[in-house]
């Protein structure tokens, strides 16, 4: 009996072979960075083949870790080549790249708030990083610290509600989910400020 799982497994093993063969022959670092993204897609394909709720639960952190890895590697590459302060090439002067970040960041933040919990915080934080990294900005660290403090308070209040009024568990779950959303979001948005600007 051949199931979709087996066919998918065959396809993914072929793709992984292709990806790693091209990895071996590649010398240029930026080409390797793009191929890393291809390898990440292959890893997600394997997980998606499981096809249950478990797969969904594993894909979400995989995506979040993948994007933060890509951001970090891109920054390291720019620093290594010493081209961090360079202006973009005129060949790639695309209108959308100037106007889209604000809209995309807003969509990510709203979607993250709907998701809530850890992955919601990560998605919303991603929106904030994205906005900070592509627009001119001046950071407000005090605001991030204040929000982080309130997140602790809601978290601890949620634990007390769990212990003292167990019948109100739904309120407690919502408070704890909102708290961890704010915590992860604040931590993530700090990454957006490390662009290597002098003084940061």
């Amino acid at each position: 009996m051949i199931t979709p799982f087996h066919i998918g497994l065959f396809a993914v093993s072929l793709c992984i072979l292709v990806t790693f063969l091209s990895f071996l022959k590649e010398k240029d670092d930026l080409h390797k960075l793009i191929l890393t993204d291809l390898a990440a897609i292959m890893a997600l394909f394997i997980i998606a083949l499981v096809g249950t709720d478990l797969a969904e639960a594993l894909i979400l952190p995989g995506l979040v870790v993948g994007i933060s890895k890509l951001m970090a590697l891109a920054e390291i590459y720019l620093v290594k080549e010493g081209i961090q302060q360079k202006k973009n090439s005129t060949v790639l002067d695309i209108e959308v790249l100037d106007t889209a970040p604000a809209i995309l960041a807003a969509i990510l933040v709203i979607y993250g708030i709907i998701l809530s919990g850890f992955s919601g915080g990560a998605v919303a934080g991603l929106g904030i990083i994205f906005y900070l990294a592509f627009k001119k900005h001046d950071e407000k660290f005090e605001l991030i610290e204040t929000v982080s403090g309130y997140a602790w308070v809601t978290w601890i209040a949620a634990f007390f509600i769990f212990l003292i009024f167990p019948s109100q568990w739904f309120l407690a779950v919502m408070l704890a989910g909102g708290g961890i959303l704010l915590k992860v979001m604040a931590k993530f948005s700090l990454i957006g400020t490390m662009r290597g600007d002098p003084g940061v």
Binding site: G8, L33, I41, L60, I67, L104, L126
Partner: protein, 80 residues
């Protein structure tokens, strides 16, 4: 086995091969070919009804294209 799954598998294989050996070997071609593979992954997720994973993947892949285009733009400015 749904049609989405078959098309998705085909797109992933084609996308992987075209990303591995792009025809004009430059960064932009490779980045565009990468989109073929990620579209295949979207179709596979669709065939397994993984809604939240699909939505998050759409969001994240949009961001990753922006990051890579920013790096490529700076690199091209040095080469020229």
């Amino acid at each position: 086995m749904t049609p989405e799954f078959i098309i998705g598998c085909g797109l992933i294989i084609l996308g992987a091969i075209s990303t591995a050996w792009p025809s004009p070997r430059d960064y932009i071609t490779r980045l565009i070919n990468l989109e073929v593979a990620s579209f295949g992954l979207l179709l596979v997720m669709l065939s397994f009804d993984e809604t939240i994973a699909l939505l998050t993947f759409v969001a994240v892949s949009g961001v990753s294209v922006f990051i890579l285009v920013r790096v490529i733009g700076k690199k091209e400015a040095v080469i020229r």
